[in-house]
């Protein structure tokens, strides 16, 4: 499979009608590749500590946090992280005011 085909499938680039490959991507999940592969540590939620403040959702630079309304043990909103694209930067862990998120080392050889 050529790079162009791979690129098209992963939505990382576009071909213009005249046939030129372009350094362009549509706004779509994965337009920068499977960033989940980059992760050495993953953020893991302890739902009981979460107060549903949305800060992790707001600060995540990859936009991979969705808030699940009412899904917490006290009916609060809690973050759901898409580990396919979470790059493990730890920003969410840093901004969480209640330490509900922790960085846990990824086992080597999995990802």
């Amino acid at each position: 499979m050529s790079g162009v085909e791979a690129a098209r499938r992963g939505l990382v680039a576009r071909i213009d009608p005249a046939g030129h490959p372009l350094p362009l991507s549509e706004a779509a999940p994965g337009s920068a590749g499977r960033t989940g592969f980059w992760r050495t540590h993953r953020p893991v939620l302890e739902p009981a500590r979460c107060v549903g403040c949305y800060l992790c959702w707001l600060y995540c630079p990859e936009d991979v946090i969705e808030m699940a309304e009412g899904a917490g043990p006290r009916g609060q909103a809690v973050p759901v992280i898409d580990y396919e694209y979470c790059k493990g930067c730890g920003v969410c862990v840093d901004v969480c005011p209640t330490r509900a998120l922790k960085l846990v080392e990824e086992p080597i050889g999995e990802g």
């Binding site: 050529s2 790079g3 162009v4 791979a6 690129a7 990382v12 680039a13 576009r14 213009d16 009608p17 005249a18 046939g19 030129h20 490959p21 372009l22 350094p23 362009l24 991507s25 549509e26 706004a27 337009s31 920068a32 590749g33």
Partner: protein
């Protein structure tokens, strides 16, 4: 009726930009380019041209702004020279690899230090590998015509690459010549509405310049190469049609002056090739069958034209107005790659930093090279520097470099 006016080269470019209905110009002033944008500003302020002029704080921003406008879907233009071009260099790559058509004028000038505002080709030749088309004007008329043609060629879907129009600092940029300005209707008939591979607009987000697999990157680069090769045909078509509309044919990527029956060719680009034609006439009067071949385009490189022109020639003298330190003049390197027939070749860097070179100098250079061929049979001398009436052999592999070679035939000893 086309108007005939006395114009400096820079003004000729400005009129071409107006006729091409450019909508955004972004530039930062640098000698000897400044008049291009001053004139465009004047045309806008008088209401003769309907465009937005963006005054930016650097050349990097100048091309970035023009590029942004072009990506947004309008015809855009910038102009620079020398240090300005050096500062802009990164954006050259962004524009070309984004496949965004855009036209820039480079008013060729030496790059310091020491400070020098005069003509040299080191600046324009540093753009060769960036994916821009590169043309070089011999006179002010051609500066105007090539600018208009460049918009059409760069916006052709077979090409979709930006383009540079080069004109020699001061020799053209500040010298008044009679220039015929085509009718707006003729230019409108020649230039279709802008085409480009995509636009980035509010409401239709796209990411540009993202990380891609290496294989894809390589394919993108080689598509630029393929498009540049394809540009040759597009230039010929556009040049022919421009000729039909204006009477000035630009179908050739090179211009030949008395090449056909010549056994000695002078090859070069830019304004001094006008002097080379005078030198050809002088040499012919003396019985030396010379001809002049001028490269109107450097990218795409007129490989086939040069290969053909080199057939049956005894000697090819390449004039270079810059040098690739440690090797030879860039044009010599390019031209020698195309001359499969392997005539004698002499590369002559001269006129660097604006040192005056007259048609008499060019005739002397050719006579000297011809004399060596007569003496020794085939010669191949990549660097035979001509400086103030003397020649200096500074070719790679020729150890040790001779400090002073010989005085030019007919030169009075000169300085040096």
């Amino acid at each position: 009726m086309p108007a005939r006016m006395g114009l400096r080269g820079n003004e000729a470019v400005a009129y071409a930009v107006k006729l091409a209905r450019v909508e955004v110009v972004a530039a930062y002033p640098i000698t000897p380019q400044t008049i291009v944008v001053e004139k465009i500003d004047e045309l806008i302020s008088k209401g003769e041209m309907d465009a937005e002029m963006i005054h930016v704080e650097s050349e990097h921003s100048a091309l970035a702004a023009a590029y942004g406008a072009a990506v947004g879907g309008v015809r855009a233009f910038t102009a620079t020279a020398s240090h300005g071009l050096a500062y802009m260099y990164e954006m050259l790559w962004w524009t070309a690899a984004s496949r965004i058509p855009l036209v820039m004028a480079i008013i060729t000038r030496a790059i310091g230090p020491p400070w020098n505002i005069h003509v040299e080709h080191a600046d324009i030749m540093s753009t060769r590998d960036t994916g821009w088309l590169i043309s070089m004007a011999e006179n002010n008329q051609e500066a105007l015509d090539l600018t208009i043609i460049m918009f059409r060629v760069t916006e052709d879907p077979r090409v979709y690459l930006p383009g540079i129009v080069g004109l020699d600092g001061f020799i053209l940029s500040h010298t008044v010549e009679p220039v015929e300005i085509p009718d707006q209707e003729a230019v409108d008939a020649f230039l279709p509405p802008r085409r480009q591979p995509y636009t980035i607009e509010p409401g239709d987000p796209k990411a540009m310049g993202n990380l891609v697999p290496d294989e894809y990157f390589e394919e993108l680069r080689m598509d630029m190469h393929r498009s540049m090769l394809e540009a040759r045909r597009v230039i010929m078509e556009a040049g022919r049609e421009y000729g039909k509309l204006t009477g000035r044919d630009y179908s050739g990527l090179v211009e030949c002056y008395r090449c056909g029956d010549a056994d000695t060719l002078i090859v070069g680009m830019g304004s001094w090739m006008g002097d080379a034609k005078v030198a050809v006439d002088m040499l012919r009067e003396k019985g030396l069958r010379a001809g002049a071949l001028r490269l109107r385009w450097v990218r795409p490189f007129p490989w086939e034209e040069l290969r053909e022109a080199g057939l049956g020639k005894r000697l090819v003298v390449v004039l270079d107005r810059s040098i690739s330190f440690g090797h030879a003049g860039p044009l010599f390197l390019e031209v020698s790659s195309a001359l499969e027939a392997r005539p004698s070749m002499v590369g002559v860097p001269a006129g660097i930093g604006g040192v005056d070179i007259s048609y008499e100098d060019i005739a002397r250079i050719v006579e000297e090279a011809y004399g060596m061929v007569e003496e020794r049979g085939r010669v191949f001398i990549p660097v035979y520097w001509y400086h103030l009436g003397r020649f200096y052999r500074l070719s790679p592999g020729a150890a040790p470099p001779e400090a002073v070679a010989r005085a030019a035939p007919g030169a009075g000893g000169g300085g040096g």
